[in-house]
């Protein structure tokens, strides 16, 4: 009656039936699978089974087990969230989910431009759409995330200029700076440009001091980590005058209303496409882009794959393929540029769907709506007793710093109290940015209604 005695046949392993196993062993004239492992020395072979938890063999048992774990999480659908700091809550259009959950894209990998034509075209379209947003002619197949893109852009600039001094704006995500430092350690000398405490922007005077003819690159985020929109033109001009490459990291969702860095002199532009249709996924929705003008010397510095368009033998038909493949480590191992591997193609396809769905007007409206909400939130928050917005007069996109020093409470205390009211408050900056005192980074996007902002203010009033 019970089947426990019988060997388990696994639904994911067709040939786990005893019949199939025996058939194949017979076909290859082997007594047991051990024969295939003959090259593994006996003392390296594991005795017995791995020490793993008892399996949930049934799909239902597995589902229930994992769901129970996930139910321990409280998500941003459960709570109202004002967290930003590099990962953003935006509306994900349903077409993005529909396309990126298509089995054909989910389970594809490294097929050729013929059998996987659709993937190549979708990626070429992604780079083309990004190209319009950025007003640049070259955009890479996505790298891991904005951190990676930034780090690579700095190395690219150094190779391009043949110099090794990099000036990096301090108004940057501290983790990103750590990543860059590790990534560039062998070939780049990193200098951090301090933040102007008054404006929350890069300190222009310091930049001038640091900048010299040995400088390969001036790198800054715009909007920067503190949400401030930098005067990119002024900074890029300084860099260009000094013969350094201006490299700008940008939030692509801002580009319906903010100028693309190419327009104010940037030569390398990077960023993270997570805002363009990716769910946050606890930080799993990131992918990085690198863009430049179509200057061959710069193009040859890309470590990433670049997909180009070309006619086929049939008039009117397009095909796609790798541009200048010999740059890559796939082709030249350690003599290629940096390295390349599986990164985040599905998010590139998705960002393409996002931009095609949004169109020029959608991008303009979403940018403007975010500016407006930040403006309103700044005004409302700074009305609360003891609450200050230190860079109130600066232009902000999406986020800004809120200071609580005058309330006599720590951000940690305030955030805990808000969490009990179902609100994920702004990210606590006090550890990484002691100079800002008890401050938090609050983020407002198109998902926030006036009522959400008012709810936050009301809750803060009760908490403070």
């Amino acid at each position: 009656m019970s089947t426990t005695q019988k060997k388990t046949v696994y639904p994911y392993i067709p040939n786990s039936t005893p019949q199939a196993r025996q058939f194949m062993l017979d076909a290859v004239n082997a007594k047991s699978v051990d024969e295939f492992y003959a090259d593994i020395p006996k003392h390296l072979k594991l005795d017995g089974l791995l020490d793993l938890p008892a399996p949930k063999l049934s799909e239902f048992g597995l589902k229930r087990h994992v769901q129970k774990l996930l139910n321990k999480n409280t998500s941003t659908e459960d709570n109202l969230s004002f967290l930003g700091g590099g990962c953003y809550q935006h509306h994900v259009p349903s077409v993005c989910d529909e396309v990126n959950q298509r089995s054909e894209f989910v389970t594809a990998y490294a097929g050729e431009p013929y059998d996987d034509h659709g993937r190549f075209q979708a990626l070429f379209e992604y780079t083309s759409l990004m190209g319009e947003l950025l007003e640049m002619d070259v955009v890479n197949v996505p790298v891991y995330d904005g951190f990676q893109a930034a780090a690579t852009s700095i190395r690219m600039a150094c190779r391009y200029t043949g110099k090794r001094k990099a000036l990096i704006s301090g108004a940057i995500n501290p983790d990103k700076l750590k990543m860059i430092t590790t990534y560039c350690q062998a070939d780049v000398d990193i200098h951090v440009i301090p933040v102007d405490q008054k404006t929350g922007g890069l300190c222009r005077a310091s930049l001038k001091d640091l900048l010299d003819d040995q400088t390969a690159v001036v790198y800054f985020d715009n909007p920067n980590y503190l949400g401030v929109i930098e005067d990119g033109e002024a900074i890029c001009s300084l860099a260009n005058e000094a013969g350094a490459v201006p490299a700008v990291a940008v939030d692509p969702i801002s580009l319906g209303v903010l100028a693309p860095p190419a327009n104010y002199g940037a030569k390398l532009v990077t960023g993270d496409i997570q805002p363009l249709g990716m769910h946050m996924q606890f930080g799993g929705g990131h992918a990085g882009f690198i863009a430049s003008h179509d200057e061959p010397d710069m193009v040859m510095q890309y470590p990433s794959r670049l997909f180009g368009i070309a006619p086929t033998e049939v008039p009117g038909e397009y095909g796609f393929g790798d541009v200048a493949f010999e740059r890559t480590s796939f082709e030249k191992r350690e003599n290629g540029q940096e390295y390349v591997g599986t990164a985040a193609v599905l998010w590139g396809i998705t960002a393409g769907v996002y931009l095609a769905t949004m169109g020029p007007q959608g991008m303009q409206e979403i940018g403007e709506g975010i500016l407006q909400r930040n403006c309103y939130a700044k005004q409302q928050l700074s009305k609360l007793p003891g609450v200050n917005v230190p860079h109130f007069d600066q232009p902000h996109f999406k986020e800004f710093v809120v200071n609580f020093d005058d309330t006599g409470k720590t951000v940690a205390e305030i955030n805990l109290a808000l969490q009990e009211k179902g609100i994920f408050a702004g990210h606590d900056l006090s550890a990484d940015w002691p100079e800002l005192g008890q401050s938090a980074l609050y983020c407002f996007t198109e998902v926030h209604t006036q009522n959400d902002i008012d709810t936050l203010c009301q809750a803060l009033t009760e908490v403070l």
Binding site: Y12, E35, Y114, A186, E233, A234, A259, F282, I309
Partner: protein
């Protein structure tokens, strides 16, 4: 489908989606929002994105999806080394749950105990499988984990004051990233070639090691599917000169529960969750490369690590000697979730079944492929392989003039993938097949039958193979557009600029 490039679908004024407008009071408050903005920061012209109604966008991408061959749709054993296995749909479903998809990485730890527990539990699983003491899921891909391993090796030697150690040894048949990532840290790369039997050459290793050796970064089995039986000797030789050994476990699918990296003495290793642990390849990521190390190397890991304090999970970023960050936040947590679910469904017995059937399938397939005229499996003659085989069509090429790559294009006509191999070709006319545990005898027989038919065409009607593809969404691409800076076009705007007159649009 004969689907245009998306830019060509634009129709003036069409909308794909509408945006939530701010309320009147918000708009009023922000009436002067542009005034503080430097005028050069204001975008002057709207981006030239296409204007397309929603169903047309959708139709476009659905058609493109149908012009793509996912592993779900065919017998995907032609992409050897890629470990194309079944990606269970239940794991995707779980990952799409808002309790996973809608988590912000900076939420208070008390609100993400579930996913932290998953990561912590999966780390235990990786520890059991590798024998290592600690694992990180930060790297967003296999190569990123190789990168992280190289960084740890560098950091370790720096911490020991081993400034003289500036060489990394790898093999020609290890993944190119092993060489490239080490190079990033200023290491000089020494590459060992296979010996006559296809094994990494131990004599060459002995000649290569020295005080300068910082480490060994090596795959085993290599993409040939041949297991290096002297792997422990390799490790010992490098250890003797004070080097660290990193095991690139991209080809671990035949070894789960069979042998562990630590047992052979390795100090570091890495797994690709999108290969061995069945998470989807996603057309090339998102992915996770697991980095696992011995106790001694834990201080050098990237942060944060997931720790458990009396049942409360937290993120430990207090790693003053660590390599810092290798990715934004914590890598791709939903990929870890899928891999966790996969292992929890199989258990220890199931993982061993995975390995054994992957290997049995591979050897069965090899038997069938080698029956085809013109094929061979050079190196280690007569020996069994682990989970894949590097074949050669040298004889077929000699007989017919057809190259391996041309066979691949013809296979595409039959809706099947076929991959030659990573360059450079150490073997002439290579091809690499890896059936994994996910394909049945019938599936493999179908693949071989098609392969046989294509090779027979090569003998009987080489022209049809040479002019392939015939039955794909598109015909042969004119490759001269890809390497000439005057003609290449990585975006539509570049294409229109450079090829204004020849444009189809």
């Amino acid at each position: 489908w004969d689907e245009p490039v998306v830019m060509e679908l634009s129709a003036e004024g069409e909308r794909g989606i509408l945006i939530p407008e701010a309320e009147q009071a918000v708009r009023d408050a922000a009436a002067n929002v542009y005034d503080t903005l430097p005028s050069s920061m204001r975008r002057k012209n709207a981006p030239a994105l296409p204007e397309i109604a929603q169903n047309r966008v959708l139709r476009h991408y659905l058609r493109l999806s149908q012009e793509n061959l996912g592993a779900d749709l065919q017998v995907d054993i032609g992409q050897g080394t890629c470990t194309m296995k079944y990606n269970p749909k239940i794991n995707d479903q779980l990952a799409y749950s808002p309790k996973m998809a809608e988590l912000h990485p900076l939420q208070d730890e008390s609100t993400v105990q579930g996913i932290l527990e998953v990561m912590h539990e999966f780390e235990k699983i990786i520890k059991a499988i590798s024998g290592m003491d600690k694992a990180s899921f930060q790297p967003r891909g296999g190569s990123a984990a190789i990168y992280a391993n190289a960084a740890v090796i560098k950091k370790y030697h720096d911490a020991q004051g081993n400034t003289h150690k500036d060489e990394i040894i790898t093999t020609m048949l290890s993944h190119p990233s092993d060489a490239a990532c080490a190079k990033l840290f200023g290491f000089k790369i020494i590459t060992l070639y296979p010996d006559d039997d296809g094994y990494p050459d131990i004599e060459a290793l002995k000649a290569a090691v020295s005080e300068r050796t910082a480490g060994l970064m090596i795959t085993n089995p290599e993409d040939t599917g041949i297991f290096n039986p002297r792997i422990q000797e390799f490790v010992d030789i490098v250890h003797e000169v004070g080097g660290l050994c990193a095991y690139d476990q991209a080809n671990a699918n035949g070894l789960l529960g069979i042998t562990r990296a630590r047992d052979a003495g390795f100090d570091l290793c890495q797994f690709n969750l999108h290969k061995t642990f069945s998470t989807p390849h996603n057309s090339g990521g998102p992915a996770v490369g697991v980095q696992a190390v011995t106790k001694e190397l834990v201080p050098y890991l990237p942060g944060p690590l997931v720790e458990n304090d009396n049942g409360r999970y937290y993120l430990n970023d207090d790693l003053p000697h660590g390599i810092g960050k290798v990715a934004a936040f914590y890598g791709a947590a939903s990929v870890v979730l899928r891999a966790y679910a996969w292992v929890m469904n199989l258990g220890a017995e199931g993982l061993k079944e995975v390995a054994e059937i992957a290997v049995l399938n591979n050897n069965y397939l090899m038997g069938e492929v080698l029956k085809i005229k013109g094929s061979s499996a050079p190196w280690a003659k007569g020996k069994r392989r682990i989970e894949q085989v590097r074949y050669s069509w040298e004889e077929l090429h000699r007989d017919t003039g057809i190259h391996s790559e041309q066979l691949g294009l013809r296979m595409a006509d039959y809706g099947l993938h076929y991959w030659t191999s990573h360059h450079p070709y150490l073997l002439p006319e290579p091809a690499t097949f890896e059936p994994t545990e996910s394909y049945s005898i019938t599936d493999m027989d179908e693949y071989v039958r098609t392969l046989k038919a294509v090779t027979e065409e090569a003998y009987s009607n080489p022209a049809i193979v040479r002019s392939a593809p015939h039955n794909c969404p598109i015909h042969k691409i004119r490759h001269d557009n890809f390497d000439d800076p005057e003609r290449w076009a990585v975006t539509w705007r570049a294409y229109c600029r450079k090829h204004a007159d020849s444009s189809n649009g």
